[in-house]
């Protein structure tokens, strides 16, 4: 399949962008909260222990305290995966990490709520706590969850192709071990929730920062033991997600419990520290990766062992450990792949899904080993990747379907743009170039909560004003999904985008949608939007035909004008056709839907659904760095990145997504990590959690490659995640190119770089000594 080089269409600003720049966009904390009580959470001061006693009497007696809830008020577990709901909104008999919610207070003001928390007496019996995977897996370790021996939440063993034959056929076999620190989403908007409970009607309304409004609705019903029909969840503007809000979070349920207990309205905003502790981000990961390669760079086999330190509860854990293995495939042609994954419990805040979910750290291990081996064989890194390209359409050994594949073009684009051929090997001292490839899914082809329903549904409403209102449950969290819906509807109807209004994520109004995760919205909701718009167009064409006394097949509709035949004399404007259609129908509502066909839903092996998708995005990038060998300081000078997103529905937004994801990969590669001291978060502020400021951030030159996916909406695939995983390995490869030193750990903080330099010098000296003697 040939891909267009780069998109030259400019794209459109976000339809809600003007509200953001004017400061009138209302995020959860900005909502009218007249009369709201203030909710605060009491958190565990210890990392592991039994709760012997909770006494709230002194707190209840405090003037201004309206409601207190504890673990005793909710005996229902919650969690994103139906098979692994092992968490209570507030701990009941055991705490498993420092900061786990134990109780909560609703009071007339912040100060009173805080004083009340101090008056709650809790007595613990401490248990041994484990902060690294190895300790948690020790044979004599106390189990965090009785049903998970060895503190392993999930073990995965997958074997595809003949792995032994693969390694035997290789000219070079190498293995390395890589460690990636735990990181956090660090979206700038802290978590917040506004819950209203009406004791008269028994109805609950929750406004909240969620990326998964429907799951939140579901879990509120479960944990509050309410009928779903009595609940409404609304997502206001959301200040970023990146996976932080892609599962239901304890504070959301706790706020609702408080509102019910108080018989009114409770507002809860977490501090930045609490937002960090709520966590659910990328786990600390150890990867041992072994690769077989032919002299010409072709891969013969890959064996990979991954250990993820998942934190205290299940969350998305099973999916994360499956993704880490599944995404070894679908990027290159590898004849044999063996994967062993271990998701481990530890006494730390639970990890979850973060942009590039599951694939980032294994990709890092893979792409850095490829470069090590290429150096040994004297091969160019681009040539090695080109020697292993897939040919779409195809199916991988683990059942992943690759229908469009623009990786070759991505490689060409960044090789050329970065001047790779002219510059590689000729960089001044301390400066280096590195490259890497990566990919990601456009939505998981099988939904997490399997109900048999379509994977995406959109409603369109057309009324007397001639405006088209698109109702979608898809959560716009800043990525521009509502704008994508507006464009998809407008282009299908052939009307201006101003005619489209999008209402998103209000469970009383919008159809159910699984939410903003796995980069599913453009592919699935985009296709549903096109389907809905086509259905609406049919009604309009029928009305036009009737009015113009023609057959519907004869009606030509272009630019919002309906005529009989192309260039016909008799014509109707969009508003005239709407008026005609309303005569027959009254206000019009139509629906569109999309479902990934079953053949795309993954291999038959256990866990085969994870990684399955209808369309992979592909990315290649080149990173230029400077390394100061005296200080260990790494500077990123420039990045060139190309992403095959199938077709850019909104090129402006696609470029913004490419820049943002690459930059987020840079944060993980360069400086971000969460740190715990005996389980106590030592990173839980923006001073201690170091994400790149604008000063450390280089220019990122983003290119769009369009491979026109046969199933994507207008040919589109995802555009928000596929290039992220390429940054860390491209940077590490560039560091090697600059100073000849390999890094086994990220982030590449000065201490790690200096340590690697010292180790490297020691090795060189030893080798020299050996050579002399």
């Amino acid at each position: 399949m040939t891909a267009a080089f780069a998109s030259s269409r400019p794209g459109v600003p976000l339809i809600d962008g003007i509200d953001k720049v004017l400061g009138r966009a209302r995020y959860t904390a900005d909502l009218d909260r007249a009369g709201a009580l203030v909710g605060r959470i009491l958190r565990s001061p210890i990392a592991h222990g039994e709760i012997v006693r909770i006494d709230t009497a002194r707190a209840r007696a405090l003037d201004g305290v309206i409601a207190i809830v504890t673990g005793a008020d909710c005996d229902k577990t919650y969690g994103v995966l139906p098979i692994a709901m092992n968490e209570y909104p507030m701990a009941r008999d055991r705490v498993r990490y420092c900061g786990e919610p134990i109780a909560a207070v609703a009071a007339v003001d912040e100060e009173t709520a805080q004083r009340a928390l101090d008056l709650i007496d809790v007595e613990f019996r401490a248990l041994p706590a484990y902060f690294i995977s190895k300790d948690a897996r020790a044979p004599d370790a106390v189990l965090l969850h009785a049903n998970k021996p060895g503190n392993v939440e999930r073990e995965v063993h997958h074997d595809f192709g003949d792995i032994e034959a693969g390694f035997a056929a290789a000219d070079l076999v190498r293995e390395h071990r890589v460690s990636c620190a735990e990181i956090n989403h660090a979206q700038i908007e802290p978590h917040a929730c506004l819950a209203d409970f009406d004791p008269v009607t028994g109805r609950l309304t929750v406004q909240d920062v969620s990326q998964v409004v429907y799951y939140l609705h579901l879990m509120l019903a479960r944990c509050l033991d309410m009928d779903e029909s009595q609940i409404r969840v609304i997502k206001p503007f959301v200040g970023g997600g990146f996976g932080a809000r892609v599962e239901v979070l304890n504070f959301e349920i706790v706020t609702a419990l408080l509102a019910r207990a108080a018989g009114g309205r409770v507002f809860m905003q977490l501090t930045r520290e609490e937002t960090f502790i709520t966590h659910r981000a990328r786990p600390q990961t150890d990867v041992v990766l072994k690769l077989g390669m032919k002299k010409d760079g072709r891969f013969t086999a890959c064996a990979c062992e991954v250990t993820q330190r998942g934190g205290a509860y299940a969350g998305y854990g099973v999916v994360t450990i499956l993704y880490a293995g599944a995404l070894l495939q679908g990027l290159y042609d590898i004849p044999a792949v063996k994967y062993d994954g271990y998701r481990v419990y530890a006494n730390l805040p639970p990890c979850g899904a973060m942009r590039g979910h599951g694939g980032v750290n294994t990709r890092h291990a893979f792409e850095t080993l490829v470069d090590r081996m290429a150096r040994e064989l004297g091969l160019d890194p681009f040539a090695v990747r080109r020697a292993n390209l897939l040919h779409a359409p195809m199916q991988t050994m683990n059942g992943l379907m690759v229908q469009s594949y623009g990786l070759a073009e991505c490689l060409d684009v960044v090789e050329q743009a970065s001047g790779w051929k002219e510059r590689i090997g000729r960089m001044p001292p301390g400066k280096g170039l590195g490259m890497s490839c990566s990919h990601y899914v456009s939505g998981s082809a099988k939904p997490i909560h399997f109900t048999g329903e379509p994977h995406a549904v959109i409603h369109l409403k057309l009324d007397h004003d001639g405006g088209v209102t698109a109702l979608t449950g898809a959560a716009d969290i800043g990525q521009g999904s509502s704008t994508m819906v507006a464009i998809a509807v407008a282009e299908t109807l052939e009307v201006g985008i101003d005619r489209i209004r999008v209402i998103s994520s209000d469970t009383a109004v919008t159809p159910k949608d699984n939410g903003a995760y796995s980069s599913r919205i453009t592919f699935m909701v985009g296709n549903a939007a096109i389907d809905a718009a086509k259905n609406l167009k049919k009604i309009l064409i029928a009305a036009a035909a009737k009015k113009l006394e023609a057959h519907p097949d004869e009606i030509d509709c272009a630019g919002g004008i309906f005529r009989v035949g192309r260039g016909g004399q008799a014509m109707l404007s969009f508003k005239e056709v709407v008026a005609a259609a309303l005569v027959d129908e009254g206000a019009i509502s139509v629906k569109g839907s999309f479902t990934c066909p079953v053949e795309f839903q993954g291999g038959k092996h256990r866990g085969g659904a994870v990684g399955s998708t209808m369309g992979f995005s592909y990315g290649a990038q080149v990173v230029e760095t400077s390394v100061d060998e005296a200080t260990g300081m790494v500077t990123i000078d420039k990045v060139w990145v190309a992403l095959d997103c199938g077709h850019a529905i909104n090129p402006l937004a696609v470029k913004g997504q490419i820049e943002g994801q690459v930059w987020m990969g840079m944060g993980q590669a360069l400086c971000e990590e969460t740190r715990y001291l005996d389980g106590l978060p030592a990173h839980a502020s923006f001073l201690d959690y170091k994400m790149p400021t604008i000063v450390e951030s280089p220019h990122i030159e983003a290119f769009i490659v369009e491979s026109n996916d046969p199933n994507g909406p207008f040919g589109a695939k995802e555009a928000s995640e596929g290039a992220l995983a390429g940054f860390p390995p491209a940077m590490v490869n560039a560091i090697v190119n600059a100073i000849g030193v390999e890094l086994d750990e990220i982030p590449a903080t000065p201490d790690r770089v200096l340590e690697a330099i010292v180790q490297h010098q020691r090795k060189v000296k030893l080798a020299q000594k050996k050579a002399r003697s």
Binding site: V21, G23, Y27, V108, Q479, G656, S685, F686, V695
Partner: protein
Amino acid sequence: MHEPSAQYKKRLLRIKVNGRWREDAVADGCMLVDYLRDTAGLTGVKTGCDGGECGACTVLLDGLPVLACVTLAVRCEGRSVETIEGLAAQGRPSRLQQAFHEKLGAQCGYCTPGMVMASEALLRRNPTPTDDEIRAALAGNLCRCTGYVKIIESVKAVAGLAP
């Protein structure tokens, strides 16, 4: 019933907010960000951290950028504060706001009010900043969405143009 806390004394604050003088009773311990959001209703001013770490609350005090979350409201007695809401004229975005919109300098938009105000302060004192000058002026403003690329483009788009 619960009585208001006597911990902080209140005093009358006279302050110019977005060009209009107001008078409000304000507790001594009240931060400017809470005064602006809760009393003046200017929720365009954001908070992203527990104090002084993210720049989301940046407003202009007598034309200079300050972090409203670490500035006591009573310290602004008799002074002029400008927030994101004050930049628009008759509901129309300023050139800088328009540029952030058109160039996609705002994705989720949460850092945007702070970014725009810090950029506004820069452009008032230096109408034609270089990339490095823009970086220096926005060094205290974190954004998690854009990688800052389009933020720089947005500021540059109005550099050299009259406001």
